[in-house]
Amino acid sequence: MAAHEVQKQEPSTSRKSPFPLAPTPTKSSMRSAPASAPSSTKPCVPPSTTRVVAIKSIDLDRSRSDFDAFRRETKTMSLLSHPNILSAHCSFTVDRRLWVVMPFMSAGSLQSIISSSFPNGLSEPCIAVILKETLNALSYLHDQGHLHRDIKAGNILMDSDGSVKLADFGVSASVYERNYLGTSSSLSSSTTSSYRLTDVAGTPYWMAPEVVHSHNGYGCKADIWSFGITALELAHGGPPLSNLPPSKSLLLKITKRFNFSDYEKHGGADKNKSKKFSKSFKDMVGLCLDQDPNKRPSAEKLLKHSFFKNCKGSDFLAKNVLGGLPSVEERFRVLGGLKSEDDEDEDESARERVKNRRISGWNFDEDGLHLNPVFPTESSDSVVDPTESASGSVVKMVRFGGETIIPLSSESHESCLSSPGRVAEEERGDESGESSLESNLSSLAGADSIAVGVDREAMVGGLTAFMRSLDEQRQNVGTLIGLLRGEEVGEVMMSREEQMGQVVDRLRVELENERERNFQLEMELEFLRIQISGAYTTTGSATGSID
């Protein structure tokens, strides 16, 4: 589209944009975001141009940081220059909001395309084109020492001409910069250890095992894992295991290598479709999903994989994916009418949440313990993002929903009421919160079940599948409880026990750190009091006598 072409023509050395750096009146084709939204994105037409741009507007008053994350994101977006990467035209603040002006990708994210028109996934030739373009972007990023850290269909955008761009650098990081953050001027650490990141960031279902277990650090290969998951997402309509709560998915990922057959096995409800994939596709995905990051190929190498040979162009995508696709605005309206946020926004808020987890010092192993929805008491104290409660984003909501499950499913509760699975649910008593989630998910198409009404067949199928997975979970909970009580449970538990041990150790270290920091702060305050009073004791005593 226009925006795309013009951007290509811009010489790479100049980033002077013709855009005003202030919110001069713009024509917005959408309602503005609710005041409560931390960020929103909408298409606008700046005056004096005919280009439509997307503006991401972030409420800065809600972020407690010193804006370093925003600084890094906007910097990254203005310094990256690649046809497959969504860069920013400019960014500026408007009162309390940060506006990031970007090219408008009119077809929206692939996640939204899939959930609106391809609930069972895209065809292989289409997937090949999308993945190849994405790989181009990844290869460029990695070459720059940049990790995207949140590769998923929701962050791959498409324009009306079928061109594909990777977006959302909110949690991206530079391995070069990060390495230095903690270390002082001494060089020893940087020469001995490679440039690796250690903080947990991303979206659970797409996260590589070494990111979850980040104490050893991870590198570019973590993006390759997420890329592999994205391939599955495009092929099946959702990421693997998305019918399970995120923490469980994480545990599964860590405990064993999973591949297509696992996916089929865990995929549960909607697996009646028999989709055939080529050998080269399976092989490509298999390479990406190797447990050992070192064995995964680099982005550059992957590009040479046979799966990408004879790959079609973007016009092929435009014809086969975009034909008959409702417009982004249309899709919004279908998604319940009450939301004015883009899918990106949901990502945004979700991302914030992932970040928050990181900031508050949790890790996902912990989550596995604490936020596992098997303990329903844990699940009620969370914040609910209203935008995610509406039907269309069911799949999304669940992704981050380890903690948000029950309050969200009011609509789906109703659908459950009429379902024959109701009794089974009640039997499970306090786990009903989870079960409503599961049944909700079992009709993975999500939106449809609510809009169309309840399909009994699907519901029964879903519930049986759910029961199976519940049994499995119960077993897991049993072992976990056993572990917590210190009992030996079964023989399988060796590795899990080790994991628990690590978690406990890490928690202990964290607690220790926290204590230390607390102590230091107290000392500082004490010192300050002394300082304040001390600075005046001399003059104070003098004036005191005058008083």
Partner: protein, 340 residues
């Protein structure tokens, strides 16, 4: 010809030398034969990329400290850094980014356990002028800014920048319309004001008057939300640092400062209010408040106490609550003082 070059691997020092030659070439104004120039510029970009690979390693290999040391030594033996900084605007975006990462890395490279970059910069301190002025150039700001932030890790360089005339310009750079550049300048400013404690304390005591006059009027009273918010946060960081205690006692004895902080306390933005509180508490906790400060606090006592009564932060914070309780006690117990 090319095959010949490839057959014998170049040493890191070779790469530096070749880069330097190409930089000298690039610095000259372009002559008639443009095609050759493009070729040379492409070669220059390749060399800079190679320097980066030696210093950072790549996906296949880790950096080798021996090679890094060689490179660093050769780099600073002659004026390569100056050439690179001066030629940066002539390079393309990718080469600029590579060059920035090279310069950043070199600041930490030790040769015979010495940071030779520091010595070089001390002898070529005028380079800082170029880097700082980069904030005025939209195209170069992020590159020069990143280099600058690395250079001020050296205490002597930071001292130079603090004491230079450029310090005043930061108050404007922080408020540039481009968010990415303004935020970069703010990050550099913060680094300057917090990194080297003794240097900062020294700077603040010598430049107290103009610095805080500017700080108050341009930053704390800015019309720009983000400027106010960052400024009040940084002010708290500066004043609460024990090395700046002398500056702090001076700051909290001024009624003008108190007035500004009280205005910030009244902001509708919760975040600014909270940061402002962390500075305001210092005024209240001061055991030897000047009479005019006491006068202001007494005059506004009921308003302040009402404000603090519903002053809460979202998550529980014992320290915050304790601070608040103390501030409330202090204010409640105040007696108007006569100026003697």
């Amino acid at each position: 010809m090319k095959g010949l070059f490839k057959s014998k691997p170049r040493t890191p020092a070779d790469v530096v030398r070749q880069t330097r030659d190409l930089l000298i070439y690039a610095q000259r104004s372009p002559d008639s034969r443009e095609s050759k120039r493009e070729e040379k510029m492409a070669e220059l970009s390749k060399n800079i990329r190679e320097l980066k690979c030696i210093l950072y390693g790549n996906s296949e290999s880790e950096p080798v400290s021996e090679a890094c040391a060689q490179l660093t030594q050769e780099f600073f033996r002659e004026n390569t850094l100056r050439l690179l900084i001066m030629c940066l605007p002539k390079l393309n975006l990718e080469a600029r980014k590579d060059a920035t990462q090279v310069v950043a890395n070199l600041q930490r490279q030790q040769v015979h356990s010495k940071l030779i970059a520091s010595d070089y910069l001390e002898a070529n301190i005028d380079l800082m002028d170029v880097l700082i002025q980069g904030y005025g150039d939209t195209d170069m700001a992020l590159h020069y800014g990143a280099m600058l932030r690395e250079c001020i890790r050296h205490q002597s360089v930071a001292r130079y920048v603090l004491e230079s005339e450029h310090m005043k310009k930061f108050f404007d750079y922080i408020q540039l319309p481009n968010f990415d550049i303004a935020a970069d300048a703010a990050a550099t400013f913060k680094e300057l004001m917090t990194r080297h404690k003794s240097t900062v304390a020294d700077f603040l005591s010598k430049n107290y008057d103009w610095f805080f006059a500017e700080y108050n009027s341009k930053l704390l009273e800015s019309s720009n939300y983000i400027t106010r918010r960052q400024a009040v946060k940084l002010l708290g960081d500066i004043l609460l640092d024990r090395s700046n205690s002398a500056v702090m006692t001076r700051y909290v004895s001024s009624r003008d400062n108190l007035r500004i902080l009280m205005n910030l306390l009244r902001e509708s933005s919760k975040s600014i209010q909270i940061e402002a509180f962390h500075v305001f508490k210092l005024f209240a906790a001061n055991q030897n408040k000047p009479a005019d400060i006491v006068g202001i606090l007494v005059a506004n006592r009921s308003k302040l106490l009402r404000l603090f009564a519903d002053f809460k932060i979202d998550k529980e914070d014992e320290q915050f609550e304790a601070d608040k309780a103390q501030v409330v006690r202090e204010i409640a117990a105040l007696e108007p003082k006569e100026l003697s």
